[in-house]
């Protein structure tokens, strides 16, 4: 009989379970993984280099396109870094809006992750359920910023504009009768906050629904329990953050430990896992959705009762309103200067980190006093997670690689930058 040596298998970059453009060279012994070598960079666009040739504000839109399923969280880190170097602080209402949208983004991201993870492992229904619930959140994005995904809503000094008083309505069309139309528009009669309140009230039961499909599901548990186990010590060594670290039992969450914006005033818990396997990370993320829902409810409550400005009143950084710009010479000058040149940020360096749905997302900003950053380094959580792929998949079967990719919640926009 012929001796069978290890053989290599090329996984991706066009594999549906590769979550985008992951190419992996797997060294296999039969069906067991001996070594996994991920090849990344197929989506490298040089975001950091592009940010160096643009005024600060023009790069906010690039941040959305990093991790393109948690857009506003990326923006959050970027604007926090700029604000810190400029020495300004957003008004309270803006901070609440930002926190609320960061948490909406967290739910958006976790729903996308849950749907795709379920699909990878064979639970088709999850994908449909999750996308059903992503829809109202995307509508909230659209109502506030005009786009469903790449919002560019956060600005240094606050947010672009206040929350809208009305929600866009579904319109009559040949495939929607009067009754259906009324049903669709039922929760859109009030403001955006009322719409979100309605979402929050029913979201917990949606999460129960997902859990009834997965948590005690025999196949789901067989695929996830004991797969990709990471001990807390190894998680630290490998630079894992976010749910990947909490799944291993480390209660570390930047929202609690190094709170930014108004997180310190909000009441929420940090779920932690026990075994550090894919199943525990699943439980952690599902519980995080419930906690995010709690935070959103508190934000809605506060925002309904408190009016105020949503961006700082400093026209050296923030453009004046269009009405002012048309009537007031000084405002016109500010407007012109801001849109042709931008603002200069004092010389210095700052590392701003936020608890991104995937882990610690950081922006290291180095300024030499110009109107463009001298260097922006984006610390993407997925980059560190994927580098742990080799260690996490060693000794597992080929099909488990897919579960491990799923549990890492990989998005190539941020890994390749």
């Amino acid at each position: 009989m012929a001796e069978i040596e290890h053989y290599t298998l090329n996984f991706g970059p066009q594999h549906p379970a590769a979550h985008g453009v992951l190419r992996m060279i797997l060294e296999m012994d039969g069906e067991t993984i001996e070594r996994a070598d991920p090849h990344v960079g197929l989506l490298h666009r040089g975001t950091e280099k592009l940010a160096e040739i643009k005024p600060y504000n023009q790069s906010i839109g690039y941040m959305d396109r990093l991790d393109y399923v948690s857009m506003m969280c990326n923006e959050h880190a970027y604007v926090l870094a700029i604000e810190k170097l400029l020495g300004i602080e957003a008004p309270k209402r803006a901070q609440y809006i930002r926190v609320m949208f960061s948490e909406i983004t967290r739910i958006l991201n976790h729903l996308m992750w849950l749907g795709a993870h379920g699909l990878d492992v064979g639970a088709m229904t999850m994908f449909l359920y999750c996308f059903r619930d992503r829809e109202p959140l995307m509508d909230a994005y659209e109502a506030v910023s005009g786009t469903r995904m790449h919002a560019t809503y956060f600005r240094p000094g606050g947010v672009y504009r206040d929350l809208p008083e009305t929600m866009p309505q579904y319109e009559k069309s040949p495939w929607r009768n009067e009754k259906k139309l009324k049903e669709l528009n039922a929760n859109r009669q009030g403001s955006l906050l009322d719409f979100l309140q309605d979402f929050c009230d029913q979201f917990d039961s949606s999460v129960d629904e997902y859990e009834s499909l997965l948590t005690e599901n025999r196949i789901w548990k067989q695929r996830l329990v004991g797969i990709g186990v990471v001990s807390p010590e190894r998680a630290f060594q490998l630079g894992l953050t976010g749910p990947m670290l909490r799944g291993s039992g480390v209660a570390w969450d930047l929202r609690k430990m190094q709170p930014y914006d108004v997180y310190a005033e909000l009441d929420f818990d940090i779920p932690v896992g026990r075994n550090g396997d894919c199943y525990d990370r699943y439980l952690v993320r599902v519980e995080e959705m419930r906690q995010s829902n709690r935070i959103i409810k508190q934000c809605i409550e506060w925002l309904k009762n408190n009016e105020g400005p949503v961006i700082v009143d400093d026209h050296k950084v923030v453009p004046p309103t269009r009405a002012d710009m048309k009537n007031d010479m000084e405002s016109l000058i500010h407007h012109f200067k801001l849109f042709t040149e931008g603002y200069c940020v004092p010389e210095g360096e700052y590392y701003a980190a936020v608890e991104h749905p995937k882990g610690e997302f950081g922006i290291y900003l180095l300024s030499d006093g110009a109107n463009k950053p001298y260097r922006v380094k984006i610390r993407a959580p997925g980059f560190a997670h994927l580098s742990a792929m080799n260690e996490m998949s060693k000794g597992h079967m080929l099909a488990d690689v897919v579960a491990i990719i799923g549990t890492m919640d990989i998005v190539f926009g941020e890994i390749d930058r």
Partner: protein
């Protein structure tokens, strides 16, 4: 939850514990930066990770920085504007002799126990790009060092597998250096006659809409 110790207190401890090994410490906006020589780097990293008063168990980030055009602007108002997109923009001077080493490697460490961060900067001379690797101190440094090598050409001594990571297979150059053009150097297209992909020098011109200004 508040920080257990402040950045200033950490700076004092660092100075006491590692005196003589660090060249510089600075606290800016509540963040501590220490500057160290590359010959001392590994020793300092080990004590930062293992000593009871530090316990920086996580390497959060590692990145390269190119200081070639630091502090230069490209705005001249001496003459009336010419034409095109880049009116009045002067190109940066890439041949200027830098007064300090050109490159730097910046490490960001996180201590979960102390809830504290620290930044280490190692200056790297363009003539000697070798920096000791910290992969065996924090295993997560592996890809970050590969990235710094790929984008800046900084070499890490003792790295187990220093390959390119983000750029294309067979890429030449280090794209995040300041003298590497934003539009790149080569473009690729499929050639119908040769029935293969061909690489050619770029045909587009660099277009920067807003000049760099320092005020």
């Amino acid at each position: 939850m508040s920080n257990l110790i402040t950045a200033e207190e950490l700076a004092t401890t660092v100075k006491q514990k590692l005196s003589g090994q660090i060249k510089n410490t600075a606290v800016y906006k509540g963040q501590l930066t220490i500057e160290v020589d590359k010959s001392e780097l590994r020793q300092i990293c080990e004590s930062l990770r293992d000593a009871d008063e530090f316990q920086f168990e996580q390497l959060i980030d590692l990145c390269g920085v190119d200081y070639l055009t630091y502090g230069q602007d490209e705005w001249s108002t001496n003459e009336a504007s010419g034409s095109g997109f880049e009116r009045g923009r002067e190109s940066l001077d890439f041949d200027k002799e830098p007064d300090s080493p050109r490159f730097a490697v910046v490490y960001h460490l996180l201590s979960v126990t102390l809830n504290q961060r620290i930044r280490i900067r190692v200056l790297v001379d363009a003539e000697d790009m070798m920096v000791p690797s910290v992969v065996d101190i924090w295993n997560g440094a592996n890809w970050f060092e590969r990235e710094a090598f790929d984008l800046f050409g900084i070499l890490f001594e003792g790295h187990p597998d220093l390959r390119r990571i983000l750029t294309d297979y067979g890429f030449i150059g280090h794209p995040f250096r300041k003298d590497f053009p934003v539009i790149g150097e080569l473009e690729m297209r499929y050639d119908e006659e040769q029935k293969q992909c061909v690489y050619e020098p770029v045909s587009i011109e660099e277009r920067i809409l807003v000049p760099r200004v320092i005020r």
